[in-house]
Symmetry: C2
Subunit: 250 residues, 2 copies
């Protein structure tokens, strides 16, 4: 058990020079950042259809959001619209891409060439979203030396040296959860400053290192809790009149 006094120590990191996130000194809300890719993908589809102007009303209508919320979200990226007209689709896309750093692609190393790692290595479109996975690493001799979707799988012990030589800044962890912390240690020691974590393990990293954990099971939890509610209310309706009609699947 570690009873660190870190609990209070993390308050100090608040005063860190956040830079003026947008024009004003306010931090951009996380919900806003999560919605930006949704707008972006909508804009991509819109562009494919040949549209070159779009209004917040239109976006909000299609995505079932509040128009004011869309307007505020977009404003955080620094874009300026034209009253009566809206936004230029191209300009808006670029504004989002720039805000998220997607126009300045960073190389990334992936550790854990299992099912999920393989899927990410073959996922098209990361390059247009700021991340370019250049190589994979594993500790399984069977996997090492193989190529997955055109990318080499290397011995994980070679990671630190390569991180330093190639100045790689992003690490992706798709190992089993038990190894996640030691992989994170290896990465941060070598100089990785941003970790995209696909395990359920909470990672302890040095101050300043960015960790984002993709919550696959969080998404599943929303789905299944809604399903529980739905099934429960279906049963309640059923109970009212007739009994034993529906097959009781254990």
């Amino acid at each position: 058990m570690d009873f660190l006094d870190k609990g209070k120590a993390f308050e100090q990191s608040k005063t860190q020079e956040e830079g003026k996130a947008s024009e004003q000194g306010k931090a951009v809300p996380e919900p806003t950042i999560r919605r930006l890719p949704v707008y972006h993908s909508f804009l991509v589809r819109l562009k494919e259809k040949g549209r070159d102007v779009v209004s917040c009303t239109h976006i909000a209508d299609d995505l079932k959001l509040d128009p004011t919320q869309v307007r505020k979200d977009l404003a955080f990226t620094g874009i300026a619209g034209k009253p009566k007209v809206g936004y230029l689709v191209n300009e808006l896309m670029q504004s989002i891409e720039h805000f998220l750093g997607w126009d300045n692609v960073n190389d990334a190393f992936l550790v854990g060439a299992g099912h999920l790692g393989t899927a990410l290595l073959g996922y098209p479109g990361f390059a247009t979203h700021g991340v370019n996975i250049v190589a994979a690493f594993d500790n399984d001799p069977i996997k090492i030396g193989r190529t997955v979707h055109g990318k080499m799988v290397l011995d994980v012990t070679k990671l630190p040296d390569l991180v330093q030589r190639m100045h790689v800044k992003i690490g992706i962890i798709t190992t089993p959860g038990q190894m996640a912390q030691s992989v994170a240690d290896l990465m941060t020691t070598a100089g990785i400053i941003a970790i995209w974590n696909f395990t359920t393990t909470r990672l302890d990293v040095p101050e300043g290192v960015i960790v984002e954990t993709d919550q696959l099971f969080g998404s599943l939890a929303i789905l299944s809790s809604k399903l529980v509610e739905r099934i429960k209310s279906d049963k309640e309706q059923c109970h009212g009149s007739s009994n034993g009609e529906a097959g009781q699947a254990s």
Copy 2:
């Protein structure tokens, strides 16, 4: 202590199983639902270490959360702790599993046997999280008939019939985005009532159908926007190393 309080306490203990929150009309906040799997996976690790009792303070400490928040979150699942002691690890795990419906596994069909679909088909642990993928579907003749991680890949045109015959309730979409809507239509027409969507397309579904879209790029957006901030502030430190006060003009 007057006897009115006792009466109240008695009334509450009777409806414990159903959970007072859901029964009394209060919706469980989505952030709470997303945190439940995090608690659950922490409890799994705790159990492996042989612990059988845990307090909110302990959980909050380890996951860097507020103890009160943890206590409230757990209360939504209907669990009751013991003052001075905490919660029984097993009981708490089961309480979360039950709330999320993970103890009542539902069969699911997956459409789109590409990289991501393949990864999900091979993902261990879905069965302990309420979802059992029983078969995959695709429209690519090369993929149809093959077996992926022990699961058959069938022609997508056979989906409606099988959904009806097997009473499958959950559909998972891992196709390219362009096909997502038509796959969703196929699913809902056949009787699927919950869709786990891994594309960036917003799905239109009949009322009552549950849709949960996993936001992979939302997670990436958080990571990359933080990285942009970090790199920006690193550069600022480098450039104007001996800059005076708040002379920053814009």
